[in-house]
């Protein structure tokens, strides 16, 4: 039975869960509690939160995020290329140059369009 092979993993996951639960509950029950406003703030020794986090963002964030995703995802093609670039030799190198050049045209376009200018 295949499922039998997974029993050790199941036991380990259960143990890890129980261990975490027991420890955090134990400190909650036995630990001393002296709350003050400073301790209850979002970042106890960091910045003061200015406003609530649940508000609208400027649409510029979405634009930049969208452009980032585009260029980020194109990088996926570099990984398989990098794995075989030695065998492909000059051919692979030129292929990738063409690919990057096309991306570069896109980058120059958004740069000149001012899509990345922030004001």
């Amino acid at each position: 039975m295949v499922l039998l092979d997974y029993v050790p993993i199941f036991i380990m996951v259960s143990l890890a869960g129980i261990f975490g639960l027991v420890l955090s509950k134990a400190s909650e029950i036995f630990g001393p509690k002296k709350p003050n406003p400073e301790k209850l703030s979002t970042y106890e020794s960091g910045m003061q939160p200015i406003r609530t986090a649940r508000e609208r963002f400027s649409v510029k964030f979405y634009l930049v995020a969208m452009l980032f995703i585009l260029f980020d995802v194109e990088i996926v093609f570099l990984y398989p290329w990098a794995a075989v670039v030695r065998e492909l030799r000059l051919f692979g190198f030129i292929e990738m140059l063409i690919f990057v050049a096309v991306l570069l045209v896109g980058y120059v376009y958004i740069l000149k369009k001012g899509a990345l200018r922030w004001d």
């Binding site: 649409v59 979405y62 969208m66 452009l67 995703i69 585009l70 980020d72 194109e74 996926v76």
Partner: protein, 100 residues
């Protein structure tokens, strides 16, 4: 080794969820997310077959699908933003100047 059928059944289920999401949800963004779910379930099929056949073509196609999905997402979100600026809504039912 996980049998091929598991991949196929899981991806068929995910694909079906995506289709159901497109059909019953009314928010454009969620409809679009359901479409992405469909594309990713196809990726799962491709990877499953690719491993089963020992042939890298399927994985290569997955890279293309990912890249195309990103381009589609950018264009789609651009269209949604343009629509929202004009109409203040992302509800499919309210987009009805043209008769369906």
């Amino acid at each position: 080794m996980i049998p091929l059928d598991y991949y196929l059944i899981l991806s068929a289920l995910l694909f079906t969820f995506g289709v159901i999401g497109v059909v019953i949800r009314r928010n454009v963004i969620i409809v679009f997310m359901s479409i992405e779910l469909m594309l990713n379930s196809v990726n799962l099929t491709l990877v499953g077959y690719s491993a089963y056949l020992g042939d890298p073509t399927g994985q290569m196609l997955v890279f293309f699908v990912i890249a195309v999905a990103a381009a589609e997402a950018a264009v789609g979100l651009g269209i949604v933003i343009a629509l929202f600026r004009l109409r203040r809504t992302v509800n499919v039912d309210e987009i009805n100047i043209l008769k369906w």
